[in-house]
Amino acid sequence: MSCVVKTATPFIDKEILCLALEQIGCKITVQGDSIITDIQDRVMGYQTFERDVNGKYYLAAYSYTDRNRADFVSEIGKHYEVLYQKKLEEIEKARQEAIAEAERQRLEQERIRMEEERKAFVEKQKNSIIEKAKAKGYSVKETMANNKIKLVLVRYTY
């Protein structure tokens, strides 16, 4: 085995990277795609994360030893991963809630449609009977009780 390389967590979400930096005690300033920390070095100035062409944020200026640099990035990575997972879970939860709400609205619309269809049918059915009854010489008395329509048709013959 010649070597084993493990890369650090790629920081692709700016918002989460900022939160992770804040969690480890960094104060940050965001300028476009640059995230400037309050960690200052005499030679390199403020330590800054920049965005590369692949969309990943990398530590652009860091004058500490490689070991310190790796530890610093690793520490941010731990926070970043937890925050990233939490955000994914929140998005999934919101997505599920949105689906449930959309389904609830769809079912409510379906219930209303069926209710209106049923009422329209009963009304049409009643009107048809009344119309035929009147044509046949009946007087019609309509009442409502227990959600039922009662029609009393009366006529007199000699």
Binding site: V122, Q125, K150, L151
Partner: protein, 68 residues
């Protein structure tokens, strides 16, 4: 002067219960069939004793349609 009375009850689902009173013989059933939708599916037809008494004025019939 004889009274002919038809009582029709329509429930919230459109199911009908109808009865006649004072209509002679088979005319009571025919009268109901004319009033109801021609495609109405009958669930049961109960003929009372009066249905067969064609010479008297008081005949009755109860008709129910199938639930939709």
């Amino acid at each position: 002067m004889a009274e002919q009375r038809i009582t029709i009850t329509i429930d919230e689902n459109g199911k009908i219960n109808a009865s006649t009173d004072g209509i002679k013989g088979e005319m009571c059933l025919a009268e109901l069939q004319e009033l109801l939708d021609e495609n109405e599916m009958m669930q049961s037809v109960k003929k009372t004793d009066e249905y067969y008494q064609t010479e008297v004025n008081r005949n009755s019939n109860v008709i129910k349609n199938k639930q939709r």
